[in-house]
């Protein structure tokens, strides 16, 4: 469960300060599927970065479960990212030199597992996204949809509480987009995950339990 109180985020750009988020109050109960929409530059990615413990807010506080992300040290934030949060990116962000299987294994690196256990868990995760037979392929040898599936497998292999996805279908064609959405929905339903998806696509947003809108750093419910 996320609890955001009066969260603000500003960026410094030379002399100017850009306000990316302003006075955001938000509670996301465990297990909810939330879609965030809004115009480009509205602050969607910024909110997701705060939820994902990639950044600390400039003001206000963010709680995830019992941790207060807004006041954790870098090292502790890294631990939250490695154990509690799965992240899916618009551009897939796979390591190009590593195979699908190895890419999934990178997410288990902070767990210091034995090689066998690491391989087995990564393979199972790939199977759960329907790519059990593609483990040996490099990202370049896979289609966009397949690459995003590998990225989802990488996000889920650590069995996180939360899955965060920033426009996960933004780089995919319509057909593949539906596949990926169905996959995410299925995983959400099966695993009791909290899922937050940033999307431009209203068709995608409609499938969510709850829809939020961000414009000029202000959050509103739909």
């Amino acid at each position: 469960m996320y609890t955001l109180t009066k969260v603000g985020k500003t960026y410094r750009q030379g002399q100017r300060t850009v306000t990316a988020l302003k006075d955001v109050d938000l509670v996301i109960p465990q297990g909810q599927l939330v879609a965030i929409q809004g115009p480009t530059g509205g602050g969607k990615s910024t909110l997701l970065q705060l939820l994902g413990a990639l950044e600390r807010p400039t003001s206000g506080s963010i709680g995830l479960g019992s941790s207060v992300l807004s006041s954790l040290a870098d090292r502790r934030l890294a631990k939250v990212r490695s154990h509690q949060i799965g992240f899916v990116f618009q551009g897939f962000n796979l390591i190009p030199t590593l195979t699908a299987q190895e890419n999934v294994e990178t997410a288990l690196e902070p767990f210091r597992l034995k090689t066998d256990a690491r391989r087995r868990r990564a393979r199972e995760s790939l199977e759960s996204v329907g790519l059990g037979d593609r483990g040996g392929h490099l990202p370049a040898e896979l289609s966009g949809g397949q690459q995003q599936r590998v990225a989802i497998a990488r996000a889920l292999v650590k069995e996180p509480e939360v899955l965060l996805a920033d426009e996960p279908t933004g780089n995919l064609d319509e057909e593949t987009r539906d596949d990926i959405m169905e996959l995410l929905e299925g995983l959400w339903r099966d695993r009791g995950l909290t899922v937050v998806i940033v999307t431009h696509d209203t068709a995608v947003a409609r499938r969510a339990e709850r829809r939020l809108h961000i414009k000029q750093g202000r959050l509103t419910e739909r």
């Binding site: 990615s45 997701l48 970065q49 994902g52 990639l54 950044e55 870098d74 090292r75 890294a78 631990k79 990212r81 490695s82 154990h83 949060i85 799965g86 992240f87 990116f89 618009q90 551009g91 962000n93 390591i95 190009p96 030199t97 590593l98 190895e102 294994e105 990178t106 997410a107 690196e109 902070p110 690491r118 990488r154 996000a155 650590k158 920033d166 780089n171």
Partner: protein
């Protein structure tokens, strides 16, 4: 994971890896070659020094010359009226005496014991470098009641002398060098080879026996069994020696037992040079320092100091390597390190999204720094291996070409050694340079490779550690 990821990255960025490794390899090869060549030059130098100063001489201790002292002062020959043979109104005079050689200063023989008692000294032997000056001439017969005293000033260039005394007199001064020695193993005799007869032996102490230099013996028409007159005493020639190098500049004309030389020169318990052999090459510097504090009034010279007396292309080579070589290898190393650092930093910058992603999925800074440093270290080691191979090839090529270097004692050189006053004709010796790679150089090469890799890794890692995890979300480039 670490190893797989590392090797994939290096293989994938082959160009960067190759450039860094080649830069590193060139620098390390240069270090290897310069070290090998400089070891070769040192070795050639010590070969030359051995032929000049004697085998195994690591240091020499000589009396420090102070103006007014030593053998360059005026020498007085005093003739009583009965000294000459008078015939037809002319008195034939001849007198021979031993004086310390020019540039040599006598020290107390206790110096030898002092030297021998210093830690790290294997053996020490004293020598007395002397000149035998024979004054001969003719002058008008003196009146019976008078005594003629002729003060002779030894001419600046001995042997060409001859001073004009009283009217109608003619004088000549004939000199040759005499070395009092008490050891065959250490000191000037160790640089010679026996040609005929025998070497001096311990049992020769006190005996009027002499070993002559081959060149001197043939010019004077002397052979084993003949007698030679030194300071008016007859000496039996027991052996003829030749310098290991032709015309070794410091060879003496005659070698006699030390105690005999001391007695004849009226220099009881005095020596001019102590030849010192150290336990090992590595203790030479320590011994030198100890000797200097032990004997503040003496001059202590190491082989390196002695080497400064050696001229010719050999000494040019050694100076070149010592100065230019060191700077050049530092410069090239710095360039190679800089290249590696810059390429690594730019590599990390290009992988911003990749490292951001890894941070976003939970990799710690330490884990990412380790990955970057690991890659750099392997690049450095690749360069090191390549550099060592390259260095070996170059050393092999040098040895196949076998360049020869000339060496001679510089005419200005040397308060050291029994410098025969007439023989300093800057003799040239040719030595072949052979470079050799020592294990220490290999260790140095590996050390430099590791250092370069870690340095580049540290900078690259520092860059990677500063990346924000949010960089992962930057729109696809």
């Amino acid at each position: 994971m670490f190893g797989t990821y590392l090797l994939r990255e290096l293989a994938n960025r082959r160009k960067q890896t190759t450039i860094i490794a080649i830069g590193m390899a060139l620098a390390i090869a240069l270090v290897v070659v310069l070290n090998a060549v400089s070891a070769g030059v040192r070795e050639a130098q010590s070969r030359v020094l051995e032929s000049i100063y004697g085998v195994g001489t690591d240091l020499t201790v000589t009396g420090t010359f102070e103006p007014g002292e030593g053998g360059t002062g005026p020498q007085t020959f005093t003739f009583g009226r009965d000294d000459g043979e008078t015939a037809e109104g002319t008195t034939e005079l001849s007198q021979s005496r031993l004086v310390t050689a020019r540039g040599s200063v006598a020290m107390d023989a206790s110096t030898i014991e002092t030297v021998a008692s210093v830690d790290g000294v294997a053996s020490a032997a004293g020598t007395l470098s002397l000149e035998n000056m024979t004054f001969s001439g003719a002058m008008p017969a003196a009146s019976d009641d008078g005594e003629v005293t002729q003060d002779m000033v030894a001419p600046a260039v001995p042997g060409t002398g001859g001073a004009d005394g009283a009217g109608g007199s003619e004088f000549g001064v004939d000199t040759f060098s005499v070395e009092g020695v008490d050891s065959v193993e250490v000191g000037p005799l160790s640089a010679t080879e026996l040609v005929d007869g025998r070497m001096l032996e311990d049992s020769d102490a006190g005996a009027p026996v002499a070993v002559l230099d081959q060149t001197y013996a043939s010019s004077e028409d002397l052979a084993v069994g003949d007698t030679v007159t030194i300071a008016g005493e007859e000496f039996e020639v027991v052996g003829i020696v030749a310098s290991a190098t032709a015309d070794a500049a410091t060879a003496s004309d005659a070698y006699i037992p030390l105690d005999v030389a001391q007695e004849l020169a009226d220099l009881d318990d005095q020596v001019t040079t102590v030849y010192v052999q150290a336990d090992s090459a590595s203790s030479v510097d320590a011994v030198s320092t100890a000797l200097e504090s032990e004997l503040p009034d003496a001059t202590v010279s190491t082989q390196a100091d002695l080497a400064s007396n050696v001229s010719g292309s050999l000494s040019t080579a050694s100076t070149l390597i010592a100065n230019l070589g060191a700077w050049l290898s530092l410069l090239v190393l710095a360039a190679a390190f800089l290249l590696a650092i810059l390429f690594t930093i730019s590599g990390v910058t290009r992988r911003t999204r990749e490292f951001g992603t890894l941070k976003a999925i939970g990799w710690s800074n330490g884990r990412i720094v380790r990955q970057v440093a690991g890659e750099s270290l392997v690049q450095g080691l690749l360069g090191g291996a390549l550099g060592i191979a390259l260095g070996f090839a170059a050393v092999l090529a040098i040895n196949l070409a076998a360049p020869s270097l000339t060496a001679g004692e510089s005419p200005l050189g040397g308060l050291v050694g029994p410098s025969g006053p007439m023989t300093e004709t800057a003799a040239e010796t040719t030595v072949t340079l052979s470079a050799s790679v020592t294990p220490i150089v290999l260790l140095l090469a590996v050390g430099l490779a590791v250092l370069g890799g870690l340095l580049a890794g540290a900078f690259g890692g520092w860059r990677a550690a500063r990346l924000r995890p949010a960089e992962a979300l930057r729109s696809v480039a």
